[in-house]
Amino acid sequence: MFVGKPLRRREDVKFVSGRGRFVDDLLPPRTAHVAFVRSPHAHARIVDIDVEQARQADGVLRVLTAEDWDAAGHGSLVCVHPMPFSDGRPMNEVLRPAFATKKVCHVGDIVAAVIAETKHDAVHAGELVEIDYEVLAANVETGRALDEDCPIVHEVFDGNLVNDVIHGDREATSAAFAEAAHVTSLTLVSNRLAAMPLEPRAYLAEHDAERDETTLWATAQMPHMLRQWICRYALHLPEHKLRVIAPDVGGGFGVKGNFTPEIPTIVWMARELGRPMKWTCSRSEALQSDSQGRDHVTHARMAFDADGHILGLEVETLAALGAYLSNFAPSIPGNSYPQTLTGLYRTRAAYARVRGVYTNTVPIDAYRGSGRPEATLVNERLLENGAREMGIDVVEMRRRNLLSREDFPYKTPIGRTYDSGDPPAMLEKLLAMADYDELRREQARLRAEGRLMGIGLAVFLDKSGTGPSKALARKGGLHGGYETACARVNSDGGVTLFMGTHSHGQGHDITYAAIAADRLGLDIDAIEVVEGDTGRIAHGNGTWGSRSVSVGGAALHRACGEVLAKAHRIAAHLLEVAVEDLRYEPPLFTVPGSNRSVSFAEVADVAYHGARLPADHSIEPGLESTIFHDPDDSNDPSAMHLAVVEVDPRTGRVAVRRYVTVDDCGTVINPMIVEGQVHGGLAQGLGQALMENVVYDPASGQLLSGTFMDYAMPRAGDMPRLDMDFHASPTPSNALGAKGGSETGTIGPPAAITNAIVDALWHLGVRDLRMPLTPARVWGAIAEARDAEPEHA
């Protein structure tokens, strides 16, 4: 058996020796280079564009603006996850343009593009494009986007509202609050983040005029969706005329799933000029063009009975969607976020109103966690503040409210039904690992010395493997929720798996190989995995939302089952027995009680030769199976985090001393890889809590976090001591029992670390903190509390 073992990744050999093949590593002869001319303003009217000087600059092949795009008859980008108003009205939709026309709406908005012989020529000519702007007042503060006096991003609407989405039961929730013994209120801000995979986005397109076929090498998580978007919506090409290859991709985290405005221009120009066309994003461009994440402002209340049981949760959220609606953006706050708001608690009634808003900022879209970190912050901050206000220990409070194993499947008051879990067992495991009681004693000892130690938890539900297609379509989704797997037995008895997902660090190769090897009874070395090439894999929905194993792996499990069934039929035919009388003792099909056998490889040989198959064609040649697996539902991983911090009251510096996690991602195919996913997610989650922040100047709308000199991400020295474990409750929704296992790391830390810091500072009067919790902010909160309540000083 290979499933469950920490098998090493086979792709690592090339990466550690510098032989990975990333898009920017490709440089075919005659490559022309693209540079994009971007808006330096957050909000401005384009009065005039003069490209003449640029056109005449050295090496310039073409200068493009919106006029050229329109003249070519191209279409638009696309938002594939619309989210209508709850009263049925369609959302107020403005798509991301390939080129801005009358207005620019965020710093980085594309106004023109230059195609030139070299990168230097392209960038130089880009500076010669003269754009006359009339600068407008900018709207970059999410919490103010719906104010009467706020500048309007798109005047076609009478405000900045994208949609207004209601979940839960308002009346039942009001009733719950009416009978509450205690109500806790908080304003919660989920800071705006930049995903920043270490490999910047890059695209190279090459056109074969003879075959009228274009190949695009792209830093893409979802090559098939990208192909569809480019062909169907932007360039109006038949999909099969574009081949999208996602080679080695240096991290995705959601942003490489998106259809960004540079891509269709690159494909268009490769076709038009008949030369390889390349663009690699610089890091500072990435900070003004890669879609960003989070950016919620929420007012929320939690109602408790006298014993601390949660009676109700009421949530009002403004969610920034940026200047335009990116691919998946509206559904993240509108759909994903509300679904896990009540987390792992038996909350009696809940009501959530989420309004998406336009701001003069880079479009928001999926970033690892997508909605669940925002939801968990709300639920877990309220619970811990409520517990402290009521004088109940935060762990005891959770014990009183957690769902039990028997509660699953559990329908929440928001409407989602969770499939599986065992929260009480997970909590006890977490507490034992952390030695919670000893931590509290240590906290008391240190407090007596004037040292500020804090303990905070976050327990939460993840949601992964989005599907099925029908459910997506109900809200207007423009793509399927299925995944494809083709298991093709080769003539030598080895197997090649063609998967519709894409691995950009997640180790799909060894994971899928383990699933297939176990299912087929073959050695893992006999299995190879192909992903990321629409020329070799006909269809797929790609990798996002932790769906690869639970949806793609489930498809693979079924495909291998079909292959095995056909192999049995061929073997039975060859051995002249009924299938029921065969035994498969890998790699041999045997007939018990006889010495007759045929190997899996011989079966493959027969399948492809064809001659020894039944004359009546009851078994056709070939030995492969392609499955389009459409799951019945998403699946429900969960996790519990505990953070231990110490705050230096003099500098405000926060040291995260320890971090403890327990994850339920169902059946773990490769623990080494899932651990790695938890580790990496935690770094990003800790980053949101402590340092990461996309900042726009409220007055000018200028991007203040425009390079890595100002956008901070965790480094090796920033990570705490970590203890982690799994506690599996396999999902009933797929044959593997696997749930998503890649996003919990980003979901818990904002809540757990904020809770821990509040715990450390509660006695000083600190009740609330705004991430990122830099030393300056933590010190500021302490100072503010001291000023507000002198008795705490």
Binding site: G18, R21, L198, Q506, G507, E675, H679, G681
Partner: protein
């Protein structure tokens, strides 16, 4: 437009002599990647922060995006392609595989080049020293746990002694 100033430079890259005519403004990283096609050296930022482009120049780990090729004239340059071989990987390369110290693999070459220098200057580092020394190399995938572990393992391998890392297990109990 006036011609772009260029120079002919001579250097050694992974032990092989290289003569190249380069524009004075060409970063060493670009010479390595676009001209010599040594694409294991990656470019991850434009402010000298991420360390993905780390190579050794005359034995010292430097960011090749922040050094012009002309500055390396006469130097010995070593890139990730000059570390170990497929059959005989360097202990760091082996340890990175063994300990799952890479996910997307983009930061990995730079990380290994910096770690090589660390192990040369501090053969038996503490976990804290490793973390401190890798602060110029960003990784967005691994949370660094397995990278630190791999560097410590490689140190133990080359030194024949291990240092216990009291950093939490960082691993599940399966």
């Amino acid at each position: 437009m006036p011609s772009v100033p260029s120079k002919t430079i001579h250097l050694s890259v992974n032990g092989r002599p290289v003569e190249a005519e380069v524009e004075c403004r060409m970063p060493l990283a670009e010479l390595l990647r676009d001209r010599l096609r040594l694409t294991g050296t990656h470019i991850g930022c434009d402010t000298s922060q991420c360390g993905a482009c780390t190579v050794h120049v005359d034995g010292v780990a430097v960011r090749s995006c922040t050094l012009f090729a002309v500055q390396a004239d006469g130097s010995e340059v070593r890139t990730i392609e000059g570390v170990g071989t497929a059959g005989e990987p360097h202990p760091l390369q082996a340890a990175f595989q063994e300990h799952h110290a890479l996910q997307c693999g983009f930061c990995t070459p730079g990380m290994i080049m910096t770690a090589l220098e660390l192990l040369r200057t501090v053969p038996s580092p503490t976990p804290e020293t490793v973390r401190h020394y890798l602060e110029g190399n960003l990784c967005r995938c691994t949370g660094y746990y397995n990278i630190v572990k791999a560097v410590l393992a490689a140190a133990a391998e080359t030194q024949g002694t291990g240092r216990p890392a009291d950093e939490g297990s960082g691993h599940a109990s399966l």
